[in-house]
């Protein structure tokens, strides 16, 4: 009983402590209180991890896309999800006028509740306290519960009476119902080996992680669950470029936040289920079990993000074809093979691993080669093209981001930069009006009077900066070189009258001229920042 033991067995020890503290109460009361504590813990766990996931996703996808991702709010941008949530909470909440109000407002709730319910049977550590309830139908319960969220999506699509929402909802039904079939069938392989539906037993049976014993099952399950939670490349029902935002197009502020929570809650749930079913759950050497569990979950989620930042999405009929003509028969064959093996070698000796991986390869090649997903389209390259693309995005993970952290880090524009300001050297101006004639927009207003000696005195030199397009023709036309383009690109104002820039501001010392049409000045200008080639090239 040391500190390490406490940390190692955190959840069982906490459970023991709480039950000991509740020892004086009647059984039903302590049962109730323990249950409530568990529920509250799960709520917090899901919401916290979802926030972490949102941050993680944006950072990681950013790196895949040679960007930095959010990095301003808090250390490394960790508070960005909190800022997002606050923003969403403060937004105006509106209802489309033709919406079916009851259905409209209930939809996010129906969508989010199953995401939480799933976690009741996800074990994060062995022993009591590592799981809320060890249902003996665990995995069946998960499959059943997750179907309920379809209804929520449906209600959203119907209730908001928007055509994009409706199309999104229709796609959802088709997609979710179709992918449920291979998904459930692929679970059967695992259940056959483990001999139980209970999540805890399934984990305990995994001396060898089932991903090795069931490689094909894993692939089908993973792809199927990607489709179930609408992740790329199956993110059709909220395909931004096609149907705007799908079923939640019409949801503002907090209601959108709930859908968002549901979506990421499901992503978390799927990562957790994949971890439990195929990656050996909490088991692992050295580290405390719950940490192992969490690391594996994060790993699975990262793979989802990797896919998301690489792949284009399927079209709706190809998606259905993929489920019915590719995953479904493969899942059936997988059950056959697994059942066969379960009868022949009930304790699954290690050569089975090699056999199964081989079988997977052969089946994938067979199906890709001979079974078209739609007319004229086969996966002829067995996914090699996809793998190549993914290798490339992975390479970009280690390249230098091209992000410029703007206010702190400024790029120097070129020496001839035409900023959004004009600079006037009044001393040299002769009031000839060449700039006025050159301006395509007629926005330079010049008034002169005859001076005491020869020449003109400029009385008024106004530029309507609000209309100016900074083409530089006035600067080029100036015969005495008294007009310059400024170097600033940050001029802005809130007041309309300030957009008419007079002589005093055109000649103000904070306006730095650039060398545009003034080649004699080019030498003294700072050098332009150029985008450097990324690491690993040359």
């Amino acid at each position: 009983m040391g500190v390490w033991d406490f940390i190692y067995n955190l959840f069982p020890r906490l459970y023991e402590l709480t039950s000991a503290a509740l020892g004086g109460l009647p059984t039903w009361a302590s049962y109730l209180i323990l249950g409530l504590i568990g529920i509250v813990l799960i709520l917090f766990f899901v919401i916290l991890v979802v926030m972490l996931f949102v941050w993680f996703e944006r950072r990681l996808v950013g790196r895949f896309q040679i960007r930095l991702g959010p990095n301003r709010a808090g250390p490394a941008g960790l508070f960005q999800p909190i800022a997002d949530v606050i923003k969403l909470l403060l937004k105006e909440s509106f209802t489309p006028s033709k919406a079916d109000r009851w259905v409209y407002f209930l939809a996010p709730v129906v969508a989010v509740v199953p995401a939480f319910l799933i976690f009741a049977v996800v074990p994060i550590q062995g022993g009591a306290g590592g799981i809320l309830v060890d249902l003996n139908i665990g995995i069946l319960y998960i499959v059943a519960i997750s179907t309920i969220s379809v209804v929520g999506v449906f209600m959203a699509g119907w209730g908001s009476s928007n055509k994009y929402s409706l199309v999104g909802a229709m796609r959802t039904v088709a997609q979710m119902v179709s992918y449920e079939v291979p998904l459930v069938l692929s679970i059967i392989g695992v259940v056959l080996i483990a001999g139980s539906l209970s999540m805890v037993t399934i984990v305990k049976e995994q001396a060898v992680p089932f991903i090795l014993l069931q490689p094909l099952g894993f692939l089908i399950f993973f792809l199927g669950s990607l489709a179930e939670i609408n992740r790329s490349p199956f993110d059709l029902l909220e395909a931004e470029s096609e149907i705007v935002a799908g079923f939640h197009t019409e949801y503002p502020g907090i209601w959108f936040a709930i859908f968002f929570l549901a979506e990421y809650g499901h992503a978390l749930a799927v990562s957790a289920i994949v971890t439990t079913l195929f990656l050996g759950g909490w088991m692992g050497p050295g580290l405390p079990p719950y940490l192992w569990f969490f690391i594996k979950v994060l790993l699975v989620f990262s793979v989802m993000l990797w896919l998301r930042s690489t792949l284009p999405r399927f079209r709706v009929d190809q998606l259905m074809g993929f489920a019915w003509k590719y995953l479904f028969p493969l899942a059936l064959v997988n059950i056959f093979i697994t059942g066969f093996e379960a009868i022949l070698w009930p304790d699954f000796p290690w050569p089975i691993i090699l056999v199964n991986i081989l079988v997977m390869g052969v089946l994938i090649v067979l199906w890709s080669r001979f079974f078209p997903l739609e007319e004229g389209f086969r996966l002829e390259r067995y996914g090699i093209g996809i793998a190549k693309g993914m290798a490339l995005t992975f390479k970009h993970l280690f390249r230098r981001p091209i992000t410029v952290q703007y206010p702190e880090q400024r790029l120097t524009p070129s020496r001839r930069f035409r900023g959004n300001e004009l600079v006037l050297d009044l001393g040299r101006c002769t009031g000839c009006g060449a700039c006025v004639r050159a301006c395509p927009l007629n926005i330079i207003h010049l008034e002169t009077r005859r001076g005491p000696e020869k020449g003109l005195i400029v009385e008024r030199f106004d530029v309507e900066a609000g209309r100016c397009m900074y083409c530089g023709l006035c600067v080029e036309s100036c015969p005495v070189g008294c007009l310059f383009m400024g170097r600033s690109y940050e001029r802005a104002t809130y007041r309309l009258e300030e957009l008419t820039v007079g002589m005093d501001r055109l000649t103000a010392p904070d306006r730095k001229p650039s060398a545009y049409a003034h080649p004699e000045m080019e030498k003294e200008m700072p050098e332009q920042t150029l985008l450097a080639p990324p690491k690993g090239v040359h």
Partner: protein, 164 residues
Amino acid sequence: MGVAIAFWVLAAVSVASALAVVITRDIFRAALFLVLCFLTIAGIYITLGADFLAAVQVLIYIGAISVLIIFAIMLTREAQRGSPSNRLRLPALAIGVLLLATLVFAVLVTPWNVVVPLPEAEPTTAGIAARLFDLEGGFVLPFEIVSVLLLAAAIGAIVLARDR
């Protein structure tokens, strides 16, 4: 005690939602009430100790049948016209009430051969599997027949719904 509370709540909700299904004019809402009804019935299965069946209820009735029904509603666009009652409403009501009275009467007067004391509810998954595939007194043949029925239904549905 807990089971009793759960039963009364679930029974009330299921009856109310079933009533809403047949009364509501908005057919989409009726379908949603149907989902609620199915969900509460799954709860009732749990009070009966049928955990496997409850999960299957959710999976099949909510995950498949309700979704199919909602899909059909969307496809037929009947929602605008609603789901009105026909001329037979009063006779139907009478028949329903009469049927209910008969059934309740039958339930109450029949001497049920209830096992006393009731054994604790146990996980049923393995039990159902054993019962289904028991070679003596099992249901292997019906099981196969049902599989064929499902296949026939799937093919039939595709043939019926296909665009000619």
